[in-house]
């Protein structure tokens, strides 16, 4: 009868999907993910189910890792995760980009294993440092790259080649008017509206920029297009002649053909961001370190997490550079490895 035909069709479809998932999944679908990846909040979460091998080569690691945080550092973490999974297919890794601040909130409740951060953790903040202590979340700060926070304009923008910090404050400061025109930034600029783009308030980039330019973290104009997704900012700047935006250097490098970097005059003349000027610190004050904050308590219990961070530190020099950031100097890199070994002994 017709009903059994329907049942047959439904059963076939279900079987097909299960077969498809099972066959092509191969080793990708690992042990059921721990509470870490699904619990949105709440105290200590259980350690990911760990496997037997702790071989340095990382063979046969299983478990799950949850990473969240900065969209700036996301590009590096994405690359590391992809390469790591090629040699450790049994580890399930989820990477999100809620912003440095948003990520720390989750990290300090124990919901995530690593927080990507484009600024240091706020020790005194109730949702960050204080919460971490209260929830027993121990961490170590590891620098993985150097970024030169880039201010970008549209290629057709011929006038804003160099901006001082004071001019940036005119554009992005909390007292900036809603209808700002370029000639209010500098009388030699044309009388066109300034179309502003900037990261969302959860972003470490936002925190860093507002502190460096406006003098106080989170003090900013509200009359801008905000997005946690830096790609949207790039698209916006590339699409409007009068636009200006700021984001991590890698987002500029990826899109050099569509946007133009503005030189920043931090008091010592105009400096455009390049690998050199970022690396040696002459690109001031917008050069900044990029961090990851692994949960050391969880890393001690999970070989997968420990192995992942080892891999990260070992490969961040090449991958960060590939993505568009600047690798930390060798000495600094060694310090990170030592700090990590001290926090989580082998």
């Amino acid at each position: 009868m017709t009903i059994s035909t329907t049942k047959r069709l439904g059963a076939l479809a279900l079987l097909a999907s299960i077969a498809l998932a099972a066959c092509s999944g191969g080793g990708a679908s690992s042990a059921p993910s721990s509470a870490a990846s699904t619990a949105p909040g709440g105290g200590a979460s259980s350690a990911p189910s760990s496997a037997a091998s702790t071989a340095p080569g990382g063979a046969a690691l299983t478990g799950s890792i949850v990473i969240d945080g900065s969209s700036t550092v996301y590009l590096i973490t994405e690359a590391v995760t992809e390469e790591f999974k090629k040699v450790n297919n049994g580890v399930e890794i989820g990477v999100a980009e809620s912003g440095t601040g948003g990520g720390f909130k989750k990290f300090c409740t124990g919901a995530t294993d690593i927080n990507d951060a484009s600024r240091p953790i706020k020790e005194a903040d109730a949702a960050e440092g204080v919460a971490c202590k209260a929830n027993g979340v121990d961490y170590v700060q590891l620098q993985v790259a150097i970024d030169g926070l880039t201010v970008a304009v549209n290629p057709a923008n011929t006038w804003a080649n160099c901006l001082t910090l004071a001019q940036l404050k005119t554009i992005y400061g909390p007292d900036s008017p809603e209808k700002l025109t370029w000639d209010q930034v500098d009388p030699t600029f044309p009388k066109e509206p300034v179309v502003r783009f900037m990261p969302g308030a959860d972003s470490g980039t936002f925190d860093y920029f507002t502190e460096a330019v406006n003098g106080k973290t989170d003090a900013s104009t509200a009359y801008a297009t905000q997005s946690e997704d830096d790609n949207v900012l790039v698209t916006g700047v590339a699409g409007d002649k009068n636009a200006i935006g700021y984001f991590g250097y890698a987002y500029f490098v990826e899109n050099k053909d569509k946007i133009k970097a503005v030189g920043i005059d931090g008091g010592a003349g105009c400096v455009t961001p390049t690998e050199t000027t970022i690396g040696d610190g002459t690109y001031k004050p917008l050069s900044r370190p990029l961090f990851i904050y692994p949960n050391t308590g969880k890393a001690k219990a999970s070989p997968a997490l420990k192995g992942y961070v080892d891999y990260y530190l070992a490969n961040t020099a090449t991958l960060a550079a590939e993505v568009g950031y600047v690798a930390v100097p060798e000495t600094v890199a060694q310090q990170q490895v030592s700090a990590w070994s001290a926090a989580v002994p082998k």
Binding site: T2, A13, S17, S33, T38, E82, E92, A96
Partner: protein, 301 residues
């Protein structure tokens, strides 16, 4: 027009003629406007399809369908998203099937003509008009938080089932009501109880229409993204989704992520993923037609 014999004094052809020509001209212009409207729609549709095909076809190959997402567009693929979409559609169908048919049967066959019934019917009509993102918020609160399932595939599927349920119910009610009363009365005359009558006379007759409605609703569910963004579909998924654990993604969400990246390559793979979505929707629509044609053969009125 003036075929009757009439005296010249009562009919004045010269005065009518210009007005008639003007009226006919207006009519032709209007017809032209109608054609222009459909012409604009055709141009828009073609532009959209060509845009997607031109940008996306070069990126569409077997590797694309069987690979994981990657930061490098040339290596990126849609496998987790595709599996997620298929699993989602199946779970949505499984939920909608009993609940949708049950509700429709009740309202069409069992419900007395009372205030409660009218309330139920009005309710379902109103639900059909609620924006899908509000269902997403509801799903976030109920399935992800309250029931503690977390942002897993099943939460997304349950939320989408709520989105399309009103549409399925309304469509099914129409189909059930279209079954001639004679069929029902024949069953009653043979001594059937109400459920026996429904099961033997109404359901088989309504089955093609109902199945078509469910399949079309599944096609709609495959294309929906807004409720899933709210429920928590992930940005970067590195393994195949499981229904009840782990992060998940579906094709429209993957498109949403890639389409927002300015690099031309990412636009290309976004378009390629769109082509896959359109193919799936097309297959489901075709399936709906086939189901209706095949099952309608048994109907004999």
């Amino acid at each position: 027009m003036t075929g009757l014999s009439a005296t010249p004094e009562t009919i004045a052809p010269p005065r009518f003629e210009p007005a008639l020509m003007r009226r006919k001209l207006t009519g032709t212009l209007f017809y032209g406007a109608c054609l222009a409207a459909i012409g604009i729609l055709i141009v828009a549709l073609l532009a959209l399809l060509l845009n997607v095909l031109i940008v996306g076809l070069p990126w569409l190959d077997v590797d694309f369908i069987t690979s994981m997402p990657s930061r490098r567009p040339t290596q990126a693929g849609i496998l987790p998203a595709l599996v997620g979409s298929i699993q989602l559609a199946i779970i949505v169908g499984l939920i909608t099937f009993p609940v949708g048919i049950g509700a429709a049967l009740y309202l069409a066959e069992y419900a007395p003509d009372s205030r409660v019934t009218r309330l139920l019917q009005t309710n379902i009509s109103n639900l059909a008009g609620v924006p899908s993102i509000i269902y997403g918020i509801f799903g976030l609160a109920i399935f992800v938080r309250l029931l503690g399932l977390g942002p897993v595939l099943f939460s997304g599927a349950a939320t989408l089932a709520l989105v399309i349920l009103p549409l399925v119910i309304i469509a099914s009610i129409e189909v059930i009501k279209a079954v001639p009363q004679a069929q029902r009365e024949g069953a009653y005359a043979l001594g059937a109880s109400r459920w026996q009558m429904v099961r033997s006379s109404v359901l088989p007759a309504a089955a093609p229409g109902i199945m078509t409605g469910i399949i079309l609703a599944m096609a709609r569910a495959i294309g929906e993204a807004a409720p899933l963004v709210v429920v928590g579909a992930a940005a970067f998924v590195t393994s195949l989704p499981q229904p009840l654990s782990g992060s998940f993604t579906v094709l429209p969400i993957q498109v949403f992520n890639w389409a927002q990246r300015p690099q031309a390559d990412f636009q290309g793979i976004a378009a390629a993923a769109i082509i896959v979505i359109l193919v799936l929707v097309f297959i489901l629509n075709l399936l709906a037609l086939v189901v209706r044609a095949r099952l309608s053969r048994h109907i004999q009125w």
